[in-house]
Symmetry: C2
DNA sequence: ACCTGAACACCGTTCAAGT
DNA sequence: ACCTGAACACCGTTCAAGT
């Protein structure tokens, strides 16, 4: 708050005219990050999968632009932009043929993938120094964690590709339901 | 820290003999939550899917037992128990036939599902009062969020089932790679 | 080796007051 | 309608000192 007021060149307590509490600032900041500047309805049938992938990739990119947003997510109310994105995702899936009974699972699973990938990336995208240290530590422990060692789980860097491929798995699993 | 010291019946500064910083306490707390009391290697072939499902459900349950653990996850180093779980998951998948090239994607996708589901659940598992309020708000906005309204996305309560079904989608998508 | 209290620099917020 | 500074209750941590 004090920092924020400084940045704005105002007195600290002036902030409290506009918002009630620090939590409110976080809610607003998170929702600002999630603002969606994409099509709101394309409706091109047959293209639902590309449409969904595009939406979710954009979602992830928005959050990665401000890495703090991932750490804000837990225990925060859903703002208007978040609702808008969920609605858009849901309507795409629905028009693609997902039955109403499966809609919740589909929406949450896809959102969870975005959320999880964002948090994971923000936590484990190591700097080069950290990577060297991790390498060191893992080599040292390679007999305890052979699979991690072999797959270079923490050193592998293609987060975009991992996200995209994982998303494909999910959508592949979802598709037979259509 | 002061609260923790009180709880332990010690002076505040005594804590600092055992740990360096508040962050360290969080790291330790998170890793304690993730302690795994399951089989370490079953190796029963053909049962890999049940094995993976069991591991991931346990993972999720552990984290839900202490809802604060979800909010600790972002920007935290991976402790020994986390590494152990990742290793175990990876080796199950590997023995099930997942190629080394796909191992990272598979591990991260499944972990992301657990993580995302945990955070989502911790954020959106509304109390009954909140649910009434949300209902109110959504009904009011139902023309803007028709799909959310129709699927009762925020009122639907079967988080366990949603987690499990989403996991099935993921594993279904993964299986053809075997 | 382990514990301690006083002190410091910080923080969010209440309150009563200003324009 | 909007801004403000003084004050309060809290917090993590340094330091120098105790056993």
């Amino acid at each position: 708050m004090r920092r924020l007021a400084d940045r704005l060149g105002s007195g600290v307590m002036s902030l409290y005219w506009h918002i009630d509490t620090k939590e409110d600032v976080f809610d607003l900041a998170l929702d600002a990050v999630l603002k969606y500047r994409g099509f709101s309805q394309t409706g091109e049938l047959g293209e639902w999968r590309a449409e969904v992938v595009h939406m979710l990739e954009d979602w992830r990119v928005c959050m990665l632009r401000h890495p703090w947003s991932a750490s804000l997510l837990p225990s925060r109310a859903l703002g208007a932009n978040m609702l808008r994105r969920l609605e858009l995702l849901g309507s795409s899936l629905s028009r693609a043929g997902v039955a109403d009974a499966d809609l919740n699972v589909a929406i949450w699973s896809l959102w969870n993938h975005v959320l999880g990938a964002t948090v994971t990336r923000a936590s484990f995208d190591l700097s080069d120094e950290d990577k060297a240290a991790a390498q060191q530590r893992l080599t040292h422990l390679s007999e305890r964690y052979p699979t991690i060692e072999r797959s270079r789980l923490l050193l592998e860097n293609d987060w975009d590709g991992t996200f995209r491929k994982g998303l494909d798995f999910l959508l592949d699993g979802l598709t037979p339901k259509l």
